[in-house]
Symmetry: C2
Amino acid sequence: MKKSIGAQTIVYPTPVFVVGTYDKESRPNVMTAAWGGICCSSPPCVTVSLRKATYSYGNIVEREAFTVSIPSEKHVKEADYFGIASGKKTDKFSATGLTPVKSELVDAPYVEEFPFVLECKLRHTFEIGLHTQFVGEILDVKVEQAVLGDKGLPDIEKIRPIVFAPQNQEYYGFGPFLGEAFSIGKDIRDPYGS
Amino acid sequence: MKKSIGAQTIVYPTPVFVVGTYDKESRPNVMTAAWGGICCSSPPCVTVSLRKATYSYGNIVEREAFTVSIPSEKHVKEADYFGIASGKKTDKFSATGLTPVKSELVDAPYVEEFPFVLECKLRHTFEIGLHTQFVGEILDVKVEQAVLGDKGLPDIEKIRPIVFAPQNQEYYGFGPFLGEAFSIGKDIRDPYGS
């Protein structure tokens, strides 16, 4: 039996994206955003939705670029801080001791200590309501060598990304391997279909 | 030391959204989509990005509505199947034995056996490239009573949603609680800021 809980913004899993930008004085800033995800395979694009009130909003509009750094579990405290403090008044890098690195491809910084980074050029700006959705074309992905697996692909069990649970406002880690995609469902057949 | 792995569509976590639609003959269909997420708090909106080649694409354009059903770990096999088979040729509900339920609010069906459902009215259609991004306004969220926690909020540990790892094409479960959001980072301070 299902119960209505109203029009809430909850999905599972929700990501913890640390969005990196430069301000007008070229000071690096980061903010944590949970509203976003991949939106296109070709060109490869990712979205982040920000309120106009955020410092990062103006930075993205100005520089037409951003990065998405994905923190590991061990940096959950810093990731949370990046979503609480505002870059208008604080230098979040100096507060946390983390290191901004200038992207070689786009006009934005990323977080050196985080294992997985997307470098994005702003392609579209969509006004939805309280949030503006920025669509960035992913020009490159940079991965810490220590989290690459056998096949040279990023290994999620080494990255240990954080999952956000909206509404309950909780962070969770990653769980056990459940199965191979495009594989474990293959033996299901529609008895009446082709 | 970071290594470039090229312009790939990978973020962590990536969701497993089961998108429900009706076709022209009002046959219920579902497909699994990994490209999407919340994009706005007010109005509450969620995105799913689909290729035009999918059967669901035409259904959403026609009916201007869709649902997002979020499967639990125990239905990972069915969720994978929903991403492999096409509704053009198969009845995915009869193949899996799962039950379509007509939403009372929007012109789309959801999956009865999945614990968490968003009912969405199409608000925007954004052409990005290979994928078209549909933005749906969340009119209601329906949650299985058994997965509600003490405060009447959905409990992620009872829902046990699936996490998709793109590129490696693997499914993972949920992990341990890491901390409270907007809380565990509060004691970090910028020594030079306010």
